[in-house]
Structures are given as structure tokens and as C-alpha cells.
Amino acid sequence: MKRTVIETNHLVKTYRRYKKKEGIRGSLTGLWKREYEEKTAISQIDLSISEGEFIGLIGPNGAGKTTLIKMLTGIIAPTQGHLDVLGYYPNDLKNEFKKQYAVVMGQKSQLFFELTLNDTLRLFKEIYEISEEDFQKNKNYFVKLFGVEDLMDVQVRTLSLGERMKMELIAALLHNPKILFLDEPTIGLDAVASKQIRKFLKEINQKNGTTIILTSHYMEDIKALCKRTVVVNHGSKIYDGETQELFNRYQKNKKIIVTFDEQDMDITLKTPNAVLLENTLHKKIYKVSKRSAKDLLAELMEYDTKDIAVEEEEIGVIVERIYQEGSACHA
């Protein structure tokens, strides 16, 4: 049986925020008398994660995903509840604990933009107290894995977003962390770069046994990588179970985007349940049930199309459906 690396019980995080009254009068009154409201960012979350798991953490904007990651890494302290990560209380900020995890935030870079990755890695070697032998071994392994041999001596600021994310991951993985927290690592990346990043993450999880907790807005990331998914909304856990089951049960439709060279293409469809969501000069977007998606695609292929793309339903839709069908039995 694999050991538990993350354990939370009734975890709560609340913030106090100032509620400003409208208008200039409200602003001036606020100088002397203020109204505050309690905002619950995380509410009674119980979570248990075992060594080597690859977990997806999803939810709409403001659901509490990042707050949860920040508590698990010790960046912020919980308001209430029990929290144990690798046997430590994260907010004690012990160096022994911090050596055992890494965090990559898609919107915050840990690299020095004017310098090269080689320069930055030297600093990380000293911060994480990595021996020269391990440093060279790990660096060479990840550089080869990510295929960035030619980019190691290039200023970070000149790299593309996809290349930079690879560099962020190399910097994060250099010390062989037991847990890797990834907060939106594929945000803003194109399809090719996202696919590459997914491939590397899969390899790191399988070969090195690194426990990975991934938050993402892209359902493709979660579907391709995570065996287990936790869905949070308004700070509460509303689903915790197998990713496959989540998609089978709650993702009922697909979105099909078709573009044409010809303007105002006249299309008559026979596929049942196909709904036209958007109709512009060169583009049509359909929503169709998962079962009928194949039929609709076959039908559309008979027309002179320029491009066809199939997209998963957005996280917000899935969250809404979990709510409608009741979440208690899954959380």
C-alpha cells in the first residue's frame, strides 16, 4: 500500500475583505467606518493523496484551486483544519519540507529573464544543496527529456512561452521533488506545446514516481494525465474520484468548430441533437451529444470544409452538471 503524502481534514481558509459602499460618500465614510465580509475561499476540504498519484484539481475561476495549492505548499496558512504534507505542517516553512516539493505557477516565473537557464540552475543547485554529480546527472536528464539542449545558453526573455514553461519545469524538477504542484502550467500555450508538456509530465510521474497535483482550465490536460480528479467550486469539494467516470457521467456534449473557405455555407444536418451555437461568415460552432459527435463529424466531412476542431465541454458546464445531479455521493 502506498503511503499518504498529503492529508487534509476540514480544511478552511477565510479572508476578510472590505466592502466599499458606492459613490464618493461611501468612499469617505469608509475612511472612518468600514464594513467587512468574510469570504470563504476553502470550505471544509478533506483530501488524501498517495505517493505517485497524478491528480487533477479543477474548477471555475475563483473556485479555490490556487488557494488550496498555496496552503499545501505553506505559502499561506489555513484558517482552520488539519493539514499534513509529507509529515510537515507546510506553513511552518521548514527548509527540510521545502526541499521535498516544487511548485510551478503558470503566471509567475521563477527564472531570471535576462539570464540563461544555466545561470539560474546554478543558484538552484546551491539553494537545494544538490551535489555536483547529482546536479549534472539531473540537468542532463531533463535537458534531454525536454529537448532543450540548444536553449540552455539563451536569455530566458527571448524564449517562446512553450520553451519557457519547459525551462520552468526543469528548474522545478532539478532537485527530484517528491511532490510537484502545477498551477495552470499550460495556460496560454498552443496545442503543440501543451501536448509536449503533457508528455513530459506523464513520463516524470511514471518513471520518477513523482506525485503531481495539477490545476488546469483545459479539460484535455486533465483527461490525458490524471487518473483521479478533484473538482472544487466555491471552495468546496464537489467531486473526488476517477477522471474517466467524471467525464463519462458529466461530460455529455462535445463542441465541434467548423471553418469554411466559402462564405455562408448552407448546411442541412440530419444528426439529431446537434445545436448550432454560433454562425458567422466562415465559421459554425455546434454542440452535440457525445454519442452523436461521430455522426455529425461524418456528415460535416461531406462538405468542403477548411478545418474541423473538436473541443471538450468547459469546466464550468461540468461543475454545473455535478451540482444538478447532486455531488454528495462523489465528494
Binding site: 505559502i75 521545502k98 511548485v103 509567475k108 535576462e114 546554478r122
Partner: protein, 267 residues
């Protein structure tokens, strides 16, 4: 403890190398501070000359003592600019922008990391110019230099450099508790500006309370000079050491509690 010091020294070395690499990318970044700091120093000297063309003494100190005082304050300021100012000054911004999160997730003291990540080699000439000024002051005063006098002066200058850092840190630690710093750094600027021109010995009443206790810029260059010219008594020495210790405790407590209080920013 020993291992931790060794590790911090290695991290410090790498931070220094990274800083030098970074500064050499843009030539103006590297050479600019030499020019700017040099010009500021000359302006200070000219202001000093203008004052002493009209007055003979400030408080009980004449021109020689004042040159020594100005040189000492300039040295403290130069050490600050070279080693930690640019790192410490960025703390409120890093807290507001959420960049501070990354410092908390690294296994090295975030305070150490932030303090030494922006060392400025461009301010080193300011240290040399300040030392020249101190030497000139000593010559004017015709002070017989003894080992005890040198040791005493170096000791007081060193602990006052620590105090200078601590006052900077106390002011910036508020950013961990408050969203807006309300330009609190400007109080610091005004204090430094005044105390660079007027020694602590010339301050009385409420000014003495403010600049000896609340924002102790008034003692920072005064005490080293007093130790050099033989004006320091036991009471002043105890007060100076006590102030440094008090500020060390306040800085450590504010920072430690601030880390617990830190709520990061929304992503």
C-alpha cells in the same frame, strides 16, 4: 548552524554572480550607477561647502568633525546601496504582486534571499569616496589613530550599518500586513536627508526623541564619530547597543509574524 552559514554563503556567491551577469547584459545598467552615485556624492560635497562657507559650527561640532560625520553617513549609505538596498526596497512590490510566493517556496530564508539578490557593484566607488572623506576628516582633526580608536570606529560603523538595514526592514515589513504602504518609505527618505546634514549631537527635544528612538538615523553616524573623537561615554555606548538590539528583536518579530499574516494575492 555551521552548515546553514556555509549554505547561505554559497547562495550569496551565486546571487552575486547572477547579479553581475544580469548587470552586464545592458551596459548602461552596469556603468550607470558609477555615474549617478558619483554625481550625488559631488552634489553632497558642494552642499556641505555651501553650508560651511556661512557657519563655523553645527551644534558643538566644527568643520573637521562634520567632514568625518558626513563621510561616515555617506559610508553607511554606500554600504546600504551596495549590499542590500535594492533587494530590500523591492519587498513591498513583490508582496503586492504575489511574486513573494516563490520566495516562500524555496528552502532558503526568504529574507536572506530578498536582501542579497540585488547587490549593486556600481555603488562600490561610493564606498571608496566615503573612505577618502573620512581620512580627510581625520587629518583635519589631527586625530592620533590608535588600534583601539580604529577598532571602536569600525565596530560602531558595522553595528550602525546593521541598524540602518533593520530600520529599512521594519518599514518594509508592514507590506506583509497592509495592502498599501501609503508611501511610508518617504518618511525614511526625509529622515535620512535631515540626519545626513545634522548630526545627532545638534538635535534637541522632540527631534531627539524621533531621531534617536523612533527612526534612529540620528545616532547612525553620530556614534561612530563620537567613538573616534573621544566623545563617547558609557551611557551613549549602552544606548547605541541597546537600540541595535531592540531593533533586531522588532525586525525579527515583525518579519516572522508577517510571514504568518501573509495572504498572497489572488491569481
Amino acid at each position: 548552524m555551521k552548515n546553514n552559514i556555509k549554505k547561505n554563503l554559497r547562495v550569496l556567491r551565486e546571487l552575486f554572480y547572477l547579479r553581475v551577469h544580469g548587470l552586464t547584459v545592458f551596459r548602461l545598467d552596469f556603468f550607470g550607477p558609477f555615474l549617478v552615485d558619483g554625481s550625488l556624492f559631488v552634489i553632497q560635497l558642494l552642499a556641505f561647502e555651501a553650508v560651511y562657507a556661512n557657519v563655523d559650527t553645527i551644534g558643538t561640532w566644527g568643520k573637521g568633525e562634520m567632514i568625518l560625520y558626513l563621510g561616515t553617513f555617506s559610508l553607511l549609505n554606500a554600504v546600504n546601496m551596495t549590499i542590500y538596498f535594492f533587494g530590500v526596497n523591492n519587498i513591498p512590490y513583490k508582496v503586492r504582486s504575489g511574486e513573494f510566493d516563490l520566495y516562500l517556496s524555496k528552502p532558503v530564508s526568504p529574507l536572506f534571499h530578498l536582501t542579497f539578490e540585488n547587490i549593486s557593484p556600481g555603488s562600490v566607488p561610493l564606498i571608496i569616496m566615503s573612505l577618502c572623506m573620512i581620512t580627510y576628516g581625520i587629518r583635519i582633526l589631527q586625530i592620533q589613530l590608535t588600534l583601539t580608536a580604529i577598532f571602536s570606529y569600525v565596530f560602531w560603523t558595522a553595528i550602525m550599518a546593521v541598524l540602518y538595514y533593520e530600520v529599512e526592514m521594519v518599514i518594509r515589513s508592514f507590506s506583509l500586513y497592509l495592502v498599501s504602504m501609503a508611501r511610508m518609505e518617504q518618511i525614511e527618505e526625509a529622515g535620512i536627508d535631515l540626519c545626513m546634514k545634522v548630526p545627532g549631537t545638534a538635535l534637541y527635544g522632540i527631534y531627539k526623541v524621533i531621531f534617536y528612538l523612533i527612526l534612529p538615523y540620528g545616532i547612525m553616524a553620530t556614534l561612530p564619530v563620537q567613538s573616534m573623537i573621544g566623545e563617547m561615554n558609557t551611557q551613549t555606548a549602552v544606548y547605541g547597543t541597546g537600540t541595535v538590539l531592540l531593533f533586531s528583536l522588532v525586525t525579527a518579530a515583525l518579519w516572522k509574524q508577517g510571514l504568518k499574516h501573509y495572504n498572497s494575492t489572488s491569481s
